[in-house]
């Protein structure tokens, strides 16, 4: 990974972003945070609806159709802006424990979201009548939302990877 990060930082787009105007990096990061806001907002609305706390004037499927595309769109925005951030600072991003823990959380979240999406589109009535009332399902929904908190913390910790001590590859490099 260190070799890849070194290679990436010597590529033309990376050098271009490294020698950017001072506003470019904060602008991409702000775009990334905006994406997180849209994603967390959508995830929150779907979670709270599943729990029956808000939006009960619409069905679970209606709520899903309203917010799931926004979550998908936000994930695309996050992927694009995230890739730009990696290209701009390959070593700072890739040679950290925080980044890879974050990616693991993102992978779990994407799998959960994709499975939920596939299932509710097929079995909307089951979700409405039985599944959303199951304790295990409600717990899973809450945990998936908590995962967003972990993703945000780990994302911010990329800049502070030294707090992991010896576990951080940044301290060995």
């Amino acid at each position: 990974m260190k070799n890849f990060a070194d290679w990436l930082s010597a590529t033309v787009p990376s050098i271009y972003l490294q020698t950017h105007e001072a506003w470019v990096l904060p602008a991409i990061q702000s775009l990334h945070i905006t994406g997180i806001g849209i994603a967390v907002g959508s995830a929150l609305m779907m979670t709270l609806r599943l729990l029956g706390w808000v939006g009960t004037d619409q069905t679970l499927l209606e709520n899903h159709r309203r917010f799931a595309p926004w979550l998908t769109g936000a994930l695309c925005l996050l992927l694009a802006s995230g890739l730009l951030l990696i290209v701009a600072e390959p070593i700072r991003e890739l040679i950290t424990l925080s980044f890879w823990l974050k990616m693991a959380c993102v992978a779990v979240m994407v799998v959960v979201f994709a499975s939920f999406q596939a299932s509710i589109r097929k079995h909307g009535a089951d979700w409405e009548q039985t599944l959303s009332k199951r304790r295990s399902v409600r717990l899973a929904a809450v945990l998936t939302f908590v995962l967003w908190g972990c993703i945000i913390i780990l994302g911010r910790l990329i800049a502070y990877d030294h707090i992991w001590g010896h576990l951080s590859p940044a301290t060995k490099a």
Binding site: A22, G37, V40, G41, G149, Y160
Partner: protein
């Protein structure tokens, strides 16, 4: 006035809370993380209501019901953002107070508050007449659009603070025997500090 203000900022930095926040490797990154989490919920919930007022999404739902349901979430997230923000501020109050992006962010926040009041005084007063309509009347649509623009500006200004204050700290890092008052009067852009501060 400016001297008193500097003394006030200095007293914030010298407070017990600020000292303990600066003293730990972990507090500042976690304060930032919780600030971002609260901001995500804050921006996300405001986006849902503003898009409804603009007539972009959830157009068939009652505006009053949606905004009432989300009000507690938005304000809860705002309180957490404000508290974590204030705690970060006191760790290095003089640097932040004189930091232009920070000042811009505070102005934008005040404008967002005024904008919200304008919404309540205009479209908010007649909400009963358009509650189920696909979009708010013109004044409501304008304030909803302005709200989104202001919040995007607040996110951008907030992120720039980390970049500009880290530079200020690096340049002004522990110089011994600095005359604090003289230093502040002449170079308000950055005060010496042992704060761990932002890492962009």
């Amino acid at each position: 006035m400016s001297v008193d203000f500097s003394a006030f900022l200095k007293s914030l930095e010298d407070s017990g809370l600020a000292n303990s926040l600066r003293g730990s490797l972990y507090y500042f990154p976690f304060l930032e993380s919780f600030h971002v989490m609260a901001l995500a919920v804050l921006f996300g919930s405001i986006l849902v209501v503003d898009l409804r007022a603009l007539g972009v999404a959830s157009t068939h739902r009652s505006f009053t019901r949606m905004s009432t349901e989300l009000l507690r979430i938005t304000w809860g997230a705002f309180v957490i953002s404000a508290c974590t923000g204030a705690m970060m501020f006191i760790t290095n109050a003089r640097v932040y107070a004189h930091n232009t992006p920070f000042q811009i962010k505070m102005v934008l926040l005040a404008l967002a508050g005024i904008n919200m009041a304008v919404f309540h005084l205009t479209a908010g007063r007649t909400v009963a007449t358009w509650d189920k309509a696909p979009a708010a009347p013109k004044a409501g649509r304008i304030t909803a659009g302005v709200s989104l623009g202001l919040w995007l500006g607040i996110i951008l200004a907030g992120r720039v603070i980390g970049f500009t204050t880290t530079g200020a700290e690096a340049k002004e890092m522990p110089v011994s025997n600095v005359d604090f008052d003289d230093f502040l009067n002449n170079a308000p852009a950055g005060a010496p500090s042992s704060a761990p501060g932002h890492s962009p």
